[in-house]
């Protein structure tokens, strides 16, 4: 650990290095706090989790759809550079793909620990039921993961090979990661770019399908009126783009001296996030207005929980104030032209979107399907009220901390993106 902090110190000036030390310490602290959650989950299974047979999915599923949204969003931003030839975004292209890869890993971990039988996760490959939206989602994101890994490698290959001759730890790591490739010719670089373009092009519909598919996984459940809306796959996609784009404004600013290198790109990305956020708000407002005007109790019950239930603050403070109103102001005011402010707005949006994810999963389930179920049984597992347990929070902290550490390692070891003309 001291080795890492020393390396960090040697990298930057004092102010940036203080920030970086804070970043590393947060990541490592979260992982340490999270180790309890991992122990608890592995040793005791689900017994200390607070979800039950009414609220069957809790914090981990919310974390899963949050991370998977970040991944799809970040990937789609990278496609601006590699598919739609918006060269301005090329400088953050590799960072975007790295973000997509790291957040996908976090998503898979979140859902893996949520399974009743983790050792059977291979069943989804061996016995897929293609009538199930979940099976589709799993197959699509498996393909997406392979594509991401190959694309990332091709994006790095040239730099890995060039850097592998250094006698340092980094050089050895590069040699390992270059997988025996030795070709540094311009021709091979051009070939890499061609393949990346094809992969990124295939990746766009794939990312749209699997993230829309996560929305469909919820939206197609007719038993849960809070989810059962044709807007759901679109809401998922838009929220993914907003959160992924927002996280990238932040990452592009702090990653590898980004503030000086990516200043203009961050501001442009901020504009894009602003537009997407407004669209996202539009979709959500539409959902509320139609449901409340229709007034069917089942349709309104979940939304009422969102705005005035025990967790009203997740909506009003977290999602609306922190995640929407304040960043909208920052992006609309002249501060929207300052990369540091844009990055801050990105942080707020990315954090706020987690509130949206919680407000999708939990209120959709926290309504008794038949009145009096909880009363009829009187077990903590049969209760419409849910608050995540210590173990659930802790394991989530581990996953977030792991994400920070992986970003930190990427920051240290990934080759710096060359300036593009």
């Amino acid at each position: 650990m001291t080795g890492i902090t020393n390396t960090v110190k040697s990298f930057e000036g004092s102010e940036a290095s203080a920030l970086k030390r804070l970043f590393w310490m947060t990541g490592i602290a979260l992982m340490l706090l999270g180790s309890y959650g991992l122990y608890d989950r592995m040793a005791h299974g689900h017994i200390h989790a607070n979800y039950g047979s009414i609220v069957t999915w809790g914090l981990w599923v919310a974390a899963y759809i949050y991370f998977i949204g970040l991944s799809a969003g970040a990937f789609l931003v990278s496609s601006l550079a590699y598919v739609f030839n918006m060269h301005q975004f090329e400088r953050i292209g590799r960072l975007a793909v790295l973000t997509a890869l790291v957040t996908l890993l976090l998503a898979l971990l979140s859902i893996f620990f949520d399974l009743g039988h983790m050792g059977r996760s291979w069943h989804v490959m061996a016995f897929p039921n293609f009538r199930s939206p979940m099976a589709w989602m799993i197959w699509l994101y498996s393909a997406y993961m392979v594509l991401l890994i190959v694309e990332m490698w091709l994006l790095l290959r040239h730099d890995l090979v060039s850097g592998s001759s250094e006698p340092t730890l980094r050089g050895r790591l590069y040699r390992l990661l270059s997988l025996g490739s030795r070709d540094t010719s311009a021709k091979s670089a051009a070939r890499d770019r061609r393949i990346v373009r094809v992969l990124a092009t295939v990746g766009v519909p794939l990312a749209v399908m699997f993230n829309g598919g996560v929305g469909a996984l919820f939206g197609s459940v007719a038993a849960r009126p809070h989810w059962h809306s044709g807007l759901f796959p679109i809401l998922f996609l838009l929220s993914a783009l907003v959160s992924g784009g927002a996280l990238l404004t932040l990452a592009a600013t702090v990653f590898q001296d980004g503030l000086t290198r990516n200043r203009d790109t961050v501001v442009v990305l901020g504009r894009l996030v602003l537009a997407l956020l407004l669209l996202d708000v539009l979709i959500q407002v539409s959902e509320f207005l139609i449901a409340f005007r229709g007034g069917i109790p089942g349709h309104v019950a979940g939304l009422q929980l969102v705005i005035s239930g025990p967790y009203w603050w997740v909506f009003w403070l977290w999602q609306v104030a922190i995640g929407t109103a304040i960043p909208l102001l920052i992006l609309l005011l002249p501060t929207g032209k300052d990369a540091r402010w844009v990055a801050f707005a990105g942080l707020l949006i990315a954090a706020g979107l987690f509130g949206l994810r919680l407000n999708i999963v939990i209120p959709g389930l926290a309504v008794e399907e038949i009145r009096g179920l909880g009363e009829a049984i009187g077990s903590m597992r049969v209760n419409a009220h849910y608050f995540p347990s210590l173990g659930e929070w802790s394991l989530t902290a581990l996953i977030v901390g792991l994400g920070l550490v992986l970003f930190g390692l990427g920051e240290l070891f990934l080759p710096r993106q060359k300036e593009v003309a």
Binding site: G52, S53, G116, H123, P133, L217, A223, R381
Partner: protein, 280 residues
Amino acid sequence: MNRPTVEDQLERDPSLSPMERREMLALLGKWVGAAVAGAGVFRAGEALAQQSEAAAGTKRKRRYGMVIDTRRCVGCRACVIACKAENKTPPGVYYTVVFDHVIEPRIDDKPLFMTKPCFHCEHPPCVDVCPVSATFKREQDGIVVVDYDRCIGCRYCMTACPYSARWFDFDENYAPVEENTAYASVPSPEYRQFRRRAKGRSPVGNVRKCHFCLHLQDENGEYNKAEGRWPACAKTCTGHAIHFGDLLDPASDVHRLLRERVAVRLKEELGTEPNVFYLL
């Protein structure tokens, strides 16, 4: 492949202990291994699906269901206890539940109780959403079952069921099991798999549900009330409120009640077509 026949034989002989069954399955695995690449890997979940396929087409089709007379229900909850005693379900897992405030406020002051097992819908939404086909509706009698060895415990089916008929096994235990008394080693007869409760072993970590006590069926898939081979809740019902039988058989109680009385089903608007009816 000769798997169905062997499975049938296993089914017919209730004297086989779980251990013998496992050995026979291992033997079976070797046989099939030649025909199916990686048969060992695919062992999980072979038994239940095979039972269903074996019986499909060859025997008479049934459609088991219930007609529950709410006027006869006194809310004693004997059905809940009988079900727990029969299936050895742990705390938090209730294959049947008695509601007492379903319709409230009522204009008259009469209480209304509603006992609610799984409805074994004609179009079960839980079955469609299962990513690994671990839960399915049996061809031969329409009973919706869970293959504990295949289920990964994702709980998507629980979100998809409009009737809260599915329960996750969190590995909680009643005191006699927790304290490892003699009761702890009594296996559950569910699906005739005779599993004993053990940490982390199925059905712990699985989704569980009512299966109309199908382990009490004979080799022809028939129940017999006189012999006591009848779903535990219906068998024990003090007010004779729970009527069980084959909805396709005109001679059955359930068929007669549906002819003579007006019945309702819950949430018809969802198109699930439950096979459990309520008389009001």
